[in-house]
């Protein structure tokens, strides 16, 4: 089941909410149990045959986590950790990468190993990473207590399981096991209304991002990456369109996940913070797919040594982290190149900052604009590999970017699509993002993330959601427009990862 479908919007979501609130009268654990059931239905709707795999993965991780917490002996704890990590990585490797490795071996060693053509279980990348984080946190003592049913509710939680954000058990567990007095179920009616009103508005915002913006950019994207020798204008239009399609598609999904969670009074991590307003690559990674960045930093970069063992190791760790982060996205060399490019960008940035430390003075508007432009160009270049079906196509597109295949105007571009492209650029560059609009003020701003006040672009059109009839009307109209476009379903891009 997908968020942008009739069954989800008109049947599954209302029934789940009703069940959640009814069961919640008995306490949050009851509500969490109802939620688990709903999550299993949600997952099984795609293909019920993969439910046992999900449940097996959840049970094994819970068991390992439980054993780690129960054992004081360091070596035994480590063995359980290694076992859990191995299971997760093996599952991921088998379902996601086995054909890729076979293909690579066939290509490099001129072998002819038959491919297995395994169907990748939906969301395996997300529930595997979420659970890896859980067992690692259990090992390091960041989790003190677990019980099975809240863990099951956490690991199968339907808003995240298909496309994230990658969850943190430490943040989720208190919300699923809270005593009855704190639960949304016994909140006063107005508080519940607040959650539903705000969550619904955010859900509709995400739906609109996906259906009204991202899906309408597809006609510009496909030709740039499927035509032979695409020309300059076609490539630039296609690449820009893809950048916005990906952003509005994925951040739309995240908004819907956060919105649905908010309706139930559950907070899940933010995943985007206006990434195309970034002024450097490290800034970009603090704004793009934030939950993955956090995972890679905490569970890969820092365990590798982070920046603690000298410059060389730091650059090596950055490259390794980004290469593996790229590979996580899919079993294709294009993702490895994409990750490698971002690793390289980060190394260059850190190298530059080592040579020329940042000034304490606030940079001028022109300087900030030039930083943003440079960052955007670097990101666009990397998207080229991210989107292309193979490296040779990506190189063709790169050749097109610099006009090596000619520059003529593509004949089949609809004016409407160009309007959507211009509109999406305006939204991404100049408007506040959905979290800034719907959660005022931005809730928790870590030191690494620029706050709104440091970000001049967000102030151009200061939009803030509030509970009034105007916003209610706008939400109703936008929702209607989305529903009227639901018959042209295009899958979420990140579902395939």
């Amino acid at each position: 089941m997908v968020f942008n479908s009739f069954p989800f919007i008109f049947i599954f979501l209302p029934l789940t909410l009703a069940g959640f609130f009814l069961l919640g009268r008995k306490g949050r654990p009851w509500a969490a149990s109802g939620l688990t059931l709903a999550s299993l239905v949600f997952y099984g709707w795609w293909d019920y045959r993969y439910l046992p795999l999900l449940l097996l993965s959840v049970s094994l991780n819970y068991w390992a986590g439980h054993r780690i917490l129960q054992t004081a002996h360091a070596v035994t704890r480590k063995r359980w950790l290694i076992l859990a990590l191995s299971i997760n990585l093996l599952l991921l490797a088998f379902f996601k990468y086995v054909d890729f490795f076979l293909q690579s071996i066939n290509g490099v060693a001129s072998q002819n190993f038959p491919l297995l053509h395994i169907i990748m279980p939906l969301g395996i990348s997300f529930f595997s990473f979420t659970q890896i984080a859980f067992v690692v946190d259990a090992y390091y003592g960041k989790i003190q207590k677990i019980s099975f049913f809240p863990y099951l509710a956490f690991a199968t939680y339907f808003p995240y399981i298909v496309s994230g954000p990658i969850l943190d058990y430490k943040e989720m567990a208190p919300q699923l096991t809270a005593p009855a007095a704190d639960t949304a179920a016994v909140q006063c009616l107005s508080s519940k209304s607040e959650n539903i009103a705000r969550g619904l508005a955010l859900f509709v915002c995400g739906l609109a991002k996906k259906i009204l913006i991202a899906d309408n950019l597809i006609p510009l994207v496909s030709p740039a990456f499927s035509d032979h020798n695409p020309q300059l204008i076609q490539v630039w239009l296609g690449l820009l369109a893809y950048s916005f399609q990906l952003y509005f598609d994925f951040s739309g999904y995240s908004d819907m996940a956060i919105g649905v969670s908010r309706m139930m009074g559950i907070d899940i991590p933010l995943n985007f913070n206006s990434p195309y307003k970034a002024t450097s690559i490290s800034d970009f990674w603090q704004r793009w797919h934030i939950s993955l960045s956090r995972f890679l930093r905490n569970y890969l970069y820092i365990p590798l040594g982070g920046n603690r063992c000298g410059s060389f190791n730091r650059y090596r760790n950055l490259m390794l982290t980004m290469l593996l982060g790229g590979l996580w996205h899919g079993a294709n060399w294009t993702f490895v190149v994409w990750g490698g490019l971002h690793g390289l960008y980060l190394c260059i940035q850190h190298g530059w900052q080592a040579i020329r430390p940042a000034s304490t003075q606030k940079p001028s508007l022109l300087t900030r604009l030039s930083y943003r432009t440079l960052t955007l160009l670097a990101v666009l270049l990397a998207w080229c590999f991210f989107r292309a079906p193979n490296v040779s196509t990506a190189l063709q597109v790169l050749a097109g970017m610099i006009g090596m295949n000619g520059i003529s105007w593509p004949g089949d571009v609809e004016p409407f699509t160009l309007i959507v492209l211009a509109g999406s650029a305006f939204l991404a560059f100049f408007l506040p993002n959905s979290q800034e609009i719907f959660f005022t003020p931005l809730p928790v701003v870590p030191p690494t993330m620029p706050s709104q006040t440091n970000n001049p672009a967000t102030a151009i059109v200061p939009l803030r959601w509030s509970a009034n009839w105007q916003w209610g009307l706008a939400t109703g109209i936008v929702f209607t427009l989305c529903v009227l476009n639901l018959n042209r379903i295009a899958g979420f891009i990140y579902v395939q990862f």
Partner: protein, 404 residues
């Protein structure tokens, strides 16, 4: 570790406004969606649930949308005794002349782009409500002779498999009315901006009206242009799939209907001679084997007492060799273009297929295929193709190089 920004928020003031905001959103959406559903369902711009209503007098655009929706719904409501199956050739070429089948309900269930798999699906669907007494089935060698779905709009949910079909269709129609394209089409009808070219397809029992074809051909650049495509070998890029598995499915279905006493009339579509040459050049032997297999299959069923006939209207005959228009764009009598024949040719075909008294007026159009005469027929066709190429060297220059 710095905490990740989460979606948690401080509880805000003015909480009393939240229910009002929620109600406004809900009521706005409900009002708008109800209006759209009511409007689109009443106007029904694509004629999705019009099978026998006054709305069928409203003129429609030349290209009907969602034909499989229209035809599966009509089959459910109309429950025909006689059905025509096949691709767009049958949909365009075979008019539903009720005089052929007095007192019977006839429906042309052919679909544009319809494969054998699609025809079988349509047959299964209509039989769920009422088993047809007569099946008229147009067959053609090429990419549509396959089990896979040919018309992408023919989705499994349109096909009946339980007693809840009517209810499900109603829900599907309500869902389909909630669409921007349909709303725009309704708006265009209300404001008089919609294209009014021809009668909707169900007004002629599933046969595409001639006036629609006139407009479509004009938009496509005319008959001469369409023939240029086949002469320059620009049609059908793909290789035909192997026909053996399809033949098996076809045989099984025919066997099933034969047992129930259904009258079956199979025919090989009268594609223009240039089209025949095209396929002969690409896979002549395979095409001949295909005809042999069809005749063997039909003969086997006849031996079992089935009322079944197979006629070959393709190849080289007085209808298929009609002179093609030159650049001046003269229209043709029997063809819209090389693969779609006119209702006039279709009517002649029906007379021959059902051996009516008028069949005598076109004795050389259509040959009964039987195992004991097929080799002779194929040899005659080979000779006829050579003669045709000699008679029309310019038209066949690219198609005759490997003909024989």
């Amino acid at each position: 570790m710095p905490p990740l920004p989460s979606s948690s928020l401080p509880r805000t003031t003015a909480a009393t406004n939240f229910p009002a905001s929620l109600w406004t959103s809900g009521l706005t959406a409900l009002l708008l969606l109800t209006t759209v559903v009511t409007l689109n369902y009443r106007i029904d711009p694509y004629f999705l649930h019009q099978w026998d209503s006054p709305l069928l007098k409203r003129m429609s655009p030349a290209q009907p949308k969602l034909s499989p929706w229209i035809k599966t719904y009509a089959a459910y409501r109309y429950q025909p005794d006689v059905v025509f199956l096949g691709s767009s050739r049958t949909e365009i070429g075979l008019p539903v002349d009720l005089a052929f089948f007095p007192g019977k309900k006839v429906l042309n269930l052919s679909l544009s782009g319809g494969s054998i798999g699609d025809s079988l699906t349509m047959l299964q669907h209509t039989s769920f409500f009422h088993r047809p007494e007569t099946i008229v089935w147009g067959l053609e060698y090429g990419p549509l002779f396959q089990n896979n779905n040919g018309n992408s709009d023919l989705t499994p949910n349109l096909i009946a498999h339980d007693q809840w079909y009517g209810l499900r269709r109603f829900w599907m129609h309500i869902k389909r009315t909630l669409a921007m394209d349909m709303s725009i089409a309704s708006w265009n009808i209300l404001t008089g901006q919609s294209e009014q070219i021809c009668l909707p397809i169900m007004a002629t029992h599933g046969h595409k009206p001639t006036r629609c074809l006139v407009k479509i051909m004009a938009d496509e650049g005319g008959t001469a242009k369409a023939f240029a495509a086949i002469m320059n070998e620009e049609e059908y890029p793909e290789t035909p799939p192997p026909f053996a598995p399809v033949m098996e499915a076809l045989d099984a279905a025919i066997g099933d209907y034969c047992q129930q006493g259904t009258t079956i009339r199979l025919f090989i579509q009268p594609l223009h001679a240039l089209n025949e040459l095209y396929w002969q050049k690409r896979s002549g032997r395979d095409m001949d084997n295909w005809k042999r297999e069809l005749s063997t299959m039909t003969d086997k069923r006849q031996q079992q007492g089935c009322d079944i006939r197979l006629m070959d209207f393709g190849g080289i005959n007085p209808v298929t060799t009609e002179e093609i228009p030159q650049a001046s764009g003269k229209e043709m009598r029997y063809y819209w273009e090389h693969s779609h024949y006119s209702s006039e040719a279709g009517t002649m075909l029906m007379h021959r297929l059902f051996a009516t008294p008028q069949a005598a007026t076109s004795p050389d159009f259509g040959v009964l295929l039987q195992p004991d005469t097929i080799e002779q027929h194929l040899e005659q066709q080979r000779q006829a193709r050579i003669a045709y190429c000699q008679r029309y060297p310019r038209e066949t220059v690219k198609l005759q190089s490997k003909v024989e």
